[in-house]
């Protein structure tokens, strides 16, 4: 591991990725760096390989070549299960929608990462006496009333569901938060509220944020705005 990559929350160098059985890479990124605490807005048209890139950073996928480091840890050199463990401990993830496990309560949904990662749990306990308290603090700050906490999550509005997802991503203060179009299912008002809350909490937790969206209008709230097309040297299928 080089000292240069250790200074970054995310560092990709000369990364190439192609799907099995395909000769042409979908991603070819010479350099992508996110500094600790940086809030990065990443945009790109659908099919541009955004999800693939997130899969690589989250350690689900493995690059054909190149190096990927998250918080100074070289993911590309780790085994699949070590990457899974790393993701549980170091990365919070928010999906576009349907973020919640339907048979768990709101609190239980928030606590999933703590049960799957001892490190995440240990960090959550540093800030609150019990795990439940840790989840409760987050939910309160994300403006979810205690009356909702034990209710079936399937009855929540989309905006509420996304805030629960944010709480789950934030619990145990992972150094990196990845949000994959988290606000695209929300209307404009709710989207702004959600974004504000998310950015606040990231700042409080000291987490870097990689926010992927096609809604370029949101870019102003971030310290850095990147376009995947600018980063990715691979030829896209539709342009050939």
């Amino acid at each position: 591991m080089t000292s240069s990559s250790a200074a970054f929350a995310v560092a990709l160098r000369d990364v190439r990725f192609s799907w099995p059985g395909q000769s042409r890479p979908v991603l070819d990124i010479a350099d992508l760096s996110i500094r600790p605490g940086e809030r990065v807005f990443l945009s790109g048209p659908s099919g541009s390989g955004k999800s693939t890139l997130l899969g690589l950073i989250a350690g689900i996928l493995r690059p054909d070549c190149g190096t990927i480091a998250v918080n100074g840890t070289a993911l590309h050199a780790m085994s699949a299960s070590a990457r899974d463990r790393f993701r549980g401990a170091e990365i919070g993830f928010i999906f576009q929608q349907f973020n919640l496990v339907p048979y768990l309560s709101m609190i239980e949904n928030v606590l999933i990462p703590c049960h799957l990662s001892p490190r995440r749990q240990a960090r959550a306990r540093q800030r609150a006496s019990t795990l439940r308290d840790a989840a409760a603090h987050l939910l309160e700050r994300l403006e979810l009333a205690p009356a909702l906490w034990e209710r079936p999550v399937t009855r929540l509005s989309t905006g509420q569901q996304q805030r629960v997802a944010a709480a789950r991503a934030l619990i145990g203060a992972p150094p990196l938060l990845i949000a994959d179009e988290p606000s695209s299912a929300l209307d404009a008002d709710r989207r702004d509220v959600f974004l504000k809350l998310l950015l606040n909490e990231c700042a409080l937790a000291g987490s870097s944020l990689l926010f992927v969206s096609h809604d370029v209008g949101l870019a102003g709230a971030f310290s850095t705005a990147l376009r995947l097309d600018d980063l990715n040297a691979a030829e896209q299928g539709e342009t050939v």
Binding site: S51, L54, G55, D84, R87, V101, P113, L116, R120
Partner: protein, 423 residues
């Protein structure tokens, strides 16, 4: 370890969440369990009733021939009559130095399809079944007067006889009306408690009575022009000339082979001695194939139930891909997903088995007393025995293997989906 407990609790909550769909699967497994264990238990009980229809008898002596046929006829009163043995031989066996007691049996007559057994009053004291249980009288006592008859529980129940009821015996199997011993009616003096053995279906008279009703018979028909009235029989010698079989009890069981050889080598008459346990086991093995087929069928029913389990979980996987991706994003490995799904399957199998055991227990407690009082089949409420634990273990093992099918599918899904939901 804590991770596995967490995943197991997720499996439980997930299954509970879909309880409407999965209840049917659990019901299927419960019924399979009920069937499998119920059949095994009844099979065991029937085997016990059968093999131990007579116990405490060391040898059954009869005319030389097929040992199975002798047992079928002498103990179960089934099949064709064997040759008789002379009374003289029976007396000599009874007088043998190793012999503690003997009970002569004479068969051949019947009453409305039920076999009539002529024997000594000792029979009721000596006869043992299962683990040495005795024959009990629910009413009355052993035969005493010449035309007294003791009837088994099933005879009393079916034909509605009570103490004092008059009845007439038929000669042989009683196929024709002509062959009735209508001139010498009997009266019921005793009714036996249900035993679950052939005793329930039989009627018991004294050897002398058997002799008396055949005084004026020869070769299976009344002698024309010769009739002995019931009040005249006392003038005749009613000692039997021959009997069907002789139950023999020894002073010491270790002499059984010696006596068996001795009886087989008898010069005066062609005899044989059969050890009931050995013959019954041989007989049971011949009948057991049917029982095993039944067990096989219920095993197939269990497999059907488990196939239902696999397909129910598989069918639910499609809408759970989101859930699997969420768990993956929070650090779950594909192997965790495999464990989660396998756990869910095994949990359902256990729920099914538990429900099946509860049903079986309720059923045994519910119909057990009825079976015991009517048929003498005692189905104990007891913890599963070794065989039953093996069956239960088999269900769990098969359930686990079946659960691996949807679990493996989920594993593949979580590998290929990763964090995205390909639509």
């Amino acid at each position: 370890m804590r991770r596995f407990f967490y995943l197991a609790s997720l499996a439980r909550k997930s299954a509970w969440n879909r309880r409407g769909t999965l209840a049917l699967v659990v019901l299927c497994i419960a019924l399979s369990t009920l069937l499998l264990l119920g059949i095994e238990r009844i099979r065991g009980q029937i085997r016990e009733n059968f093999v131990q229809a007579v116990s405490g008898v060391d040898l059954v002596a009869g005319a030389r021939g097929d040992s199975i046929q002798l047992m079928l006829y002498a103990v179960f009163h089934l099949g064709g009559a064997t040759n008789n043995i002379g009374w003289e031989s029976a007396r000599r066996i009874a007088a043998h130095r190793d012999v503690a007691w003997t009970i002569p049996l004479s068969l051949g007559d019947s009453h409305k399809g039920h076999p009539v057994v002529a024997t000594l009053p000792d029979f009721f004291d000596r006869y043992r079944f299962r683990a040495g249980e005795r024959v009990e009288f629910t009413e009355g006592r052993a035969f005493d007067a010449l035309f007294d008859v003791v009837i088994g529980a099933e005879v009393a129940r079916k034909l509605g006889y009570r103490l004092g009821s008059p009845l007439v015996l038929s000669h042989g199997g009683g196929e024709t009306l002509l062959a009735e011993h209508g001139d010498k009616p009997f009266a019921v003096t005793g009714i036996l408690a249900p035993t679950g053995t052939p005793v329930d279906r039989a009627l018991y008279i004294s050897l002398a009575a058997m002799e008396a009703i055949h005084l004026d018979w020869q070769g299976g028909a009344p002698i024309p022009g010769f009739q002995v009235r019931a009040d005249q029989v006392g003038k005749f010698d009613l000692t039997p000339k021959s009997i069907t079989a002789l139950f023999v009890g020894l002073k010491s069981r270790s002499r059984v082979f010696a006596l068996q050889r001795e009886i087989g080598a008898w010069k005066e008459e062609a005899l044989m001695g059969v050890m009931p346990g050995v013959a019954m086991d041989r007989l049971w093995r011949m009948l057991d194939t049917g029982e095993r087929a039944l067990l096989l069928v219920s095993a197939l029913v269990t497999l059907t139930g488990l196939a239902g389990l696999a397909s129910a979980i598989l069918a639910g996987l499609g809408e759970r891909r989101r859930e699997l991706a969420i768990l993956r994003s929070a650090g779950a490995r594909p192997l965790d997903i495999l464990f989660l799904l396998a756990c869910e399957g095994v949990l359902l199998v256990f729920a099914g088995i538990a429900a099946g055991l509860v049903c079986l227990t309720l059923l045994l407690l519910g119909i057990g007393p009825m079976l015991a009082s009517r048929y003498g089949i005692v189905l104990y409420f007891s913890w599963p025995g070794r065989e039953e634990w093996l069956l239960l273990g088999g269900i769990v093992a098969a359930g686990f293997l079946t659960s691996l099918i949807p679990a493996w599918r989920a594993y593949r899904i979580s590998l290929s989906d990763g964090l995205t939901l390909s639509t």
